[in-house]
């Protein structure tokens, strides 16, 4: 199963009870593909079980990156959240595990 990991790298962290996930194309073509296919709605659907609010997507073309902000995804965050990951350290890895064929109009090929 091919996942986002094959075309992207990422980093996530917390701001209060929200988190951000930055996703970077491994090549300029990968970034172009991400920009076209990885929408805020898809990221929101992926993290819905964790209780995220409406996801905001920022394009950062000079860094070949998309930055997603997930409001309230950390269930209180910091000292309040009871979860093993109260600070969003794992969310980058979780997004990179998204299967590519889950994204519509999958035209990407790196094989």
């Amino acid at each position: 199963m091919k996942t986002l990991r094959s075309i992207a790298y990422a980093r996530s962290g917390d701001k209060g009870s929200s988190a951000n996930i930055a996703v970077f194309g491994r090549t300029p073509a990968d970034y172009a593909w991400l920009r076209e296919h990885l929408s805020a709605a898809q990221v929101e659907a992926w993290f819905k079980p964790l209780g995220t609010g409406p996801v905001i997507r920022y394009e950062v073309p000079n860094l070949e990156a998309l930055n997603f902000v997930l409001p309230g995804v950390l269930a209180g965050g910091g000292s309040c959240s009871l979860r093993i990951d109260a600070q969003g350290k794992t969310l980058g890895q979780a997004l990179l595990a998204m299967p590519l064929d889950q994204l519509p109009e999958n035209s990407h090929s790196t094989d």
Partner: protein, 450 residues
């Protein structure tokens, strides 16, 4: 042309490697060492320790760092230090540091403290200005439970103290990048309206503030790194135009690449076109990032605009108690057994009259870190899991009762329960996080040479 300023970091958070400072300080021609101790929740941890011991209101780890640098300074080392180790009481931290220096005969080193960030009295008095930035809730809902409220000050006080000849500057809450911006302002003679240059230094400070994370720590491709057992701490060589080269000490592990730098640039960032600091509003959308040599990455092109009209405040309030208990469950249907055992503990407690505002049972190994949204193996196929049970309550008693109910699972739980040797879990106070704003005119940043 003024030579570049060499600034390193040797602590990304409270609890980072205590030996790092002594090693990083050995870098040739290092001008400044910055040490960051204050994450969002750190001041509330200090509030806990302060409740038990009024002297424990700052990062005492920093006093050990000073001890570790005594030989370096005695040998003629000139590197200056800027740190937010002062926590809730920069003056107490400064006094402890001076005492250490005096013991070592280093009284020629001047210590300054920056204060004025404490706005607890103001926030406690309330007002619509202090509404929660995330939820919009009114501060009156938590005013009587507030424990700390600190404004993120900028580089101003740090720069003034350095200008006056301080060798060690100890602050309370300041914006993390300001630890780097302050030295740059003094060295290059920037004014408060040199926005593009301040933006560049803020970017350098943002890259430095999490320590090893800029040099391969936490990177997606961590397994491919050379020397991952000994990842170096970052060093920024900041130029007069605010651009910088990020690198790391020779001989350390990890890597400084376009990838490690880009990942850290967007770490804990909201809108990359509007990165807000008390010194400048930065756009990351004009940045250029290029490899300029082995383990050397050049970052240039930052653009800045005037900073926000208000300071951001990080406040914390008492929010009851919590505890987490963990046990390992091994064997056939380990996850099913763990879930039933965890649910059973909570049921026993509830039947005994304990009331919790929140409970959670997690089976680690099943993708529990992300609520099970990523799962590679069916739960039933796992031969082992770590059962983690958590509770939170407004009062201490039901949480304390919970901590006594974990170990009994060894004899009344499923076969194959182990990993109970670390004893009963600890009852921990919970501190809620309350981000808000405060007008600049209401805050009086101050510095003092001790």
């Amino acid at each position: 042309m003024t030579r570049p300023l060499k600034i390193a970091n040797a602590s990304g958070f409270w609890g980072d490697q205590p030996a790092a400072a002594r090693l990083v300080a050995q870098q040739p021609d290092l001008d400044y060492l910055t040490l960051d101790y204050l994450a969002e929740v750190s001041l509330s941890i200090m509030a806990i320790t302060r409740a038990k011991d009024p002297a424990a209101s700052y990062a005492r780890d920093f006093v050990e760092v000073v001890q570790s640098l005594v030989k370096f300074w005695q040998g003629g080392g000139r590197t200056k230090i800027v740190t937010n180790a002062g926590g809730l009481d920069p003056h107490a931290c400064g006094a402890a540091v001076r005492a250490e220096l005096a013991k070592a005969g280093l009284t020629q080193l001047k210590v300054a403290v920056v204060s004025g960030d404490d706005v607890l009295a103001l926030v406690r008095a309330g007002g619509p200005d202090f509404n929660n930035l995330e939820s919009g809730a009114a501060v009156t809902t938590v005013a009587d439970r507030l424990v700390t409220a600190n404004a993120y000050l900028g580089a101003e006080g740090i720069a003034a103290a350095l200008q006056a000849g301080a060798h060690i500057v100890i602050t309370g809450r300041v914006a993390d990048p300001s630890l780097t911006v302050g030295p740059c302002c003094v060295h290059f003679g920037w004014t408060t309206t040199d926005y593009d240059r301040l933006a560049g230094a803020t970017v350098a400070g943002h890259l430095l503030e999490c320590g090893a994370q800029a040099c391969g720590g936490f990177t997606t491709d961590w397994l491919d790194l050379p020397g991952s057992h000994d990842i170096g701490f970052p060093v920024a060589e900041v130029s007069a135009d605010g651009s910088c080269v990020l690198t790391k000490p020779a001989g350390t592990g990890g890597a400084v690449t376009v990838q490690t730098v880009k990942e850290q640039l967007l770490y804990e960032i909201g809108d990359p076109g509007n990165y807000l600091s008390p010194d400048v509003t930065v756009s990351f959308l004009t940045l250029r990032v290029e490899q300029s040599g082995p383990d050397r990455v050049r970052i240039s092109g930052a653009t800045g605009r005037p900073p926000p009209a208000a300071y951001k405040v990080s406040a914390t309030y008492r929010h009851g108690y919590k505890a987490h208990g963990m046990l390992t469950v091994f064997g056939e249907q380990a996850v099913a057994k763990a879930r039933r055992a965890g649910g059973g503990v909570l049921r026993r407690l509830q039947e005994a009259g304990c009331v919790y505002r929140e409970t959670l049972v997690e089976c680690l190994g099943t993708g529990a870190s992300v609520g099970g949204i990523v799962r590679r193996v069916p739960e039933n196929d796992l031969i082992e899991t770590v059962l983690r049970i958590s509770v939170a309550a407004d009062t201490q008693e039901p949480v304390k009762r919970f901590t006594r109910e974990i170990a009994p699972l060894v004899t009344c739980g499923p076969q194959g329960v182990t990993g109970y040797a670390s004893g009963r879990p600890k009852v921990m106070p919970v501190f809620g996080y309350w981000p808000c704003l405060v007008a600049r005119s209401a805050v009086k940043p101050a510095w003092k040479m001790l």
